[in-house]
């Protein structure tokens, strides 16, 4: 009647496959069976051990559950613990840990527990923690997430802390004072500012004899790329499908923007024109072969020598410099009319979360991290150019890259090209991811610009509805 898997086979099965029937009872092994009486003894011992083990695992379950519910701020001996999470890599962690040591020395009653992940993972984790009502007390934050988490009352309004004097909003460099103020709430304080830049491989540019200057136009940029392609064989540009903020600049130069307060700030035909043009440039070799760009992600194509330049945040020069073999410089953003670059200061900031049990300590911590000159010296331009004048002046850039960044931000401030940024609508993070993915489809020739635009707009609509 029954097909029976042979014993040897079954044993192998049991050893190798997670198989419901595959519980192996050692006492039933033929070798043990023949021993008869002693079996009972061994069985009882085993039962006792097992019960103990079961008890222990139950207890550990209890501990785990307690750990989940406990959340932040278990105070022991008058000390308060706050949790601080950020995104970044090891070198940032090293700097931040140093600043925390400093903070704990000056505020012995506050202990800081830290946690960090790469950017995307950070936000996934934070989202889940916030939904579970157990977010870290302080997080590193960016403009994309202000409305999303402000609207859901995840972020703490820092205004009362400012009024009570725990937190100072004085002394920020111009353009940064009211950076994270939305609908009358102060949702964070900037720690550093960055701006979009065109990072170039200096050696390639030199070899091709192209010198970007402030106010250069898109035509100059194109001509430069053609020259680079013909003289060095390198593609001029990674391709704008790798960064959303490039398209934001293009739109801003035309008086539009990627995001308005509650939606997209451009039309389908705007985007279709942009993508159609990008496809042409990929085919003509002005932009890097997207297949190559995909393969080296998350590394930069410029740092990998696949392109002569790419649009990105100016503080990324630090990263390029350690990632790539050439030397990298910052070129100004090309313009439409010779002056307007569409730039603004972006910024990383520190925010508190609304459910924290220690709002005062959170404010003390943020205040210290934003204003203390020593913190500025330690952090340098890791997150961008330091936001407060005190920290900015405390850090004297000595290496070439930091000097370049500082020089660049000074230059754009002097030229008066900086605009104000609109805090992105809720759902902007999802839309940014969709934009990059769909743009990649276009560049890889898996969708026509027309189809892709439809796809992107419908995904954007879904994201706005889901986040409204």
């Amino acid at each position: 009647m029954m097909y029976e898997i042979p014993d040897t086979g079954h044993e192998t099965l049991c050893a190798l496959v997670h198989f419901p029937g595959c519980v192996r009872f050692p006492e039933y092994d033929s070798s043990v069976k023949s021993r008869g009486e002693p079996l009972r003894v061994s069985r009882q011992v085993e039962r006792r051990t097992l019960l103990k083990a079961a008890g222990a695992s139950l207890a550990s379950l209890g501990v785990a559950a307690a750990g989940c519910g406990g959340g932040s701020g278990s105070s022991s001996g008058g000390a308060v613990t706050i949790r601080y999470a950020w995104w970044g890599a090891d070198d940032r962690a090293k700097r931040i840990n140093e600043t925390i040591d400093l903070f704990e020395k000056k505020h012995p009653k506050i202990k800081v527990k830290t946690d960090f992940q790469p950017y995307e993972d950070f936000w996934k984790k934070f989202n889940t923690q916030a939904a579970g009502g157990n977010p870290p007390d302080v997080i590193q934050n960016a403009v994309t997430f202000l409305r999303k988490y402000g609207g859901r009352n995840v972020l703490m309004d820092l205004k009362p802390q400012v009024q009570s004097g725990e937190l100072s909003t004085e002394g920020f460099r111009s353009g940064l004072e009211k950076f994270a103020e939305i609908d009358g709430k102060l949702l964070g304080l900037p720690v550093a500012s960055n701006s979009m830049a065109y990072i170039i491989d200096e050696k390639v540019y030199e070899k091709a004899g192209v010198t970007p200057e402030f106010g250069w136009t898109w035509d100059d940029w194109l001509a430069g790329m053609e020259r680079i392609r013909s003289r060095t064989g390198v593609a001029g540009e990674t391709g704008p499908h790798s960064i959303m903020y490039y398209y934001d600049l293009v739109l801003r130069q035309k008086g539009k923007a990627f995001f308005t307060e509650d939606g997209l700030g451009f039309s389908k035909s705007d985007l279709e024109t942009e993508w159609a043009e990008a496809v042409k440039r990929i085919k003509s070799g002005l932009y890097t072969d997207p297949k190559k760009v995909e393969q080296i992600k998350p590394k930069s194509a410029t740092a990998a020598g696949l392109s002569a330049g790419e649009f990105t945040w100016d503080n990324f020069t630090v990263r390029y410099d350690s990632e790539g073999k050439s030397s990298y410089g910052i070129a100004p953003i090309p313009t439409t009319d010779g002056s307007k670059t569409g730039q603004y200061l972006g910024s990383l900031m520190l925010s508190g979360t609304a459910r924290t049990k220690h709002p005062k300590e959170v404010a003390t911590f943020i205040n210290f991290m934003v204003h203390d000159p020593e913190v500025g010296r330690i952090m340098g331009y890791d997150r961008g150019v330091l936001a407060t004048t005190k920290q900015f002046e405390a850090f004297e850039p000595t290496d070439k890259v930091s000097k370049q960044i500082s020089e660049y931000e000074k230059q754009i401030a002097e030229k008066g090209v900086l605009e104000t940024i609109t805090p992105h609508p809720a759902g902007a993070d999802v839309i940014e991811a969709a934009f990059l993915r769909v743009a990649t489809e276009v560049s890889l020739d898996k969708a026509s610009p027309g189809e892709a635009v439809e796809k992107f707009f419908s995904e954007a609509e879904t994201a706005f509805t889901a986040n409204s």
Partner: protein, 337 residues
């Protein structure tokens, strides 16, 4: 009974053997002294301790599996972003799903992966099992060696190494070039990325191979000898003896591997590279990958739950079809027991 022969055989072992083992545990001399009430009490006590032993598992099952499943069933009919209270939307998630281009794409990618990957893996498994069944020496070594990829294959690190093998100018690309193929790295090309994933799956043929090997060893030698005497060639012997004789094992493998394939996630997520989950241009956007993105990146838990239940239904249907089809091709040995 016939239906789950392979699984039943697996289940059989514990209880059947426990009966055998019992006399060994109790001295036969005291048997007549025991009244039936005593036995019943003892039985109940044994039941109780049995449940006690199972209690960590039962608690885990209720808290970590059954509870969340029930919750996700409810969420499937709601709009739920993790922050606000779920809003009942009826079947909207399902209708949205069918209209969603990326959902369709994920179904397409998953089907492709299952339909191409599973048979290739089983063919590789059966082929190697047949070779191993013939070898006399070093069988244990080869069995372990071929099995090893199954143990590590689903891990993140292997997926990362695999990705490295399939980039421009890496091992696979260089080998291709030797044969004059100019494909380049597979993982940057949306037309090829899925096949890198399929290759990763096929490479893990060890688990079904071991099961095949067990089945092959069970085929009586006499059948082959008789067939050889009758002048049957190797192919004939394979089609007429081997395949029918191992068809229950084959069925078991097909079933298990198909279900596994539907659930692929980790390697598909990683193969596209960091900053590019689920492949360039959605090339490895398998079903669970999209489910994960919707749930954990886009915070659409209602939609993601609906997707999960859709997957349950789909896998259930495929399993049902496989069970129904086995009447036609799976032969169970008629032995009186």
């Amino acid at each position: 009974m016939e239906g789950t022969a392979a699984t039943d055989a697996g289940h059989q072992r514990g209880p059947r053997l426990s009966k055998d083992a019992r006399p060994g545990g109790r001295p036969p001399g005291s048997a007549q002294a025991r009244s039936s009430a005593h036995a019943r009490r003892r039985g109940r006590r044994e039941n109780l301790s049995g449940y006690l032993f199972m209690s960590p598992w039962i608690a885990g099952f209720l808290l970590l599996t059954a509870g969340p499943m029930a919750a996700s069933f409810y969420f499937a009919f709601t709009d739920y972003n993790l922050f606000d209270t779920p809003q009942w939307v009826g079947l909207k998630n399902f209708s949205d799903m069918f209209a969603d281009a990326r959902w369709q794409k994920s179904v397409e990618v998953t089907s492709k992966y299952v339909v191409i990957g599973t048979p290739l893996k089983l063919i590789a498994a059966l082929g190697v099992a047949m070779l191993l069944a013939q070898s006399r020496r070093g069988q244990a070594f080869y069995r372990a060696a071929f099995y090893a990829p199954s143990l590590i294959g689903a891990s993140v690190s292997v997926a990362i190494v695999w990705r490295a093998l399939f980039t421009d100018d890496a091992v696979v690309d260089r080998t291709q070039q030797l044969f004059g193929m100019n494909v380049g790295g597979w993982v940057g090309d949306p037309d090829w990325t899925l096949y890198a994933l399929v290759a990763l799956t096929v490479w893990q043929f060890g688990a079904p191979m071991v099961i095949f090997l067990a089945g092959l060893k069970q085929v009586p030698r006499e059948l082959y000898e008789a067939a050889e005497v009758d002048g049957a060639g190797p192919w004939r012997r394979f089609w007429s003896i081997t395949l029918p004789m191992i068809s229950p094992v084959l069925f078991f493998n097909v079933l298990l591997e198909t279900i596994h394939s539907f659930q692929i996630f980790g390697s598909a997520y990683i193969l596209g590279g960091q900053g590019n989950p689920c492949g360039p241009a959605d090339a490895t956007l398998v079903y669970t990958c999209y489910l994960y993105q919707q749930g954990f990146e886009n915070s659409r838990m209602g939609f993601a739950s609906a997707m999960a239940w859709m997957l349950v239904v789909a896998v259930g249907l495929v399993t049902a079809v496989l069970f129904w089809s086995q009447k036609r091709w799976v032969h169970y040995e008629e032995t009186a027991r």
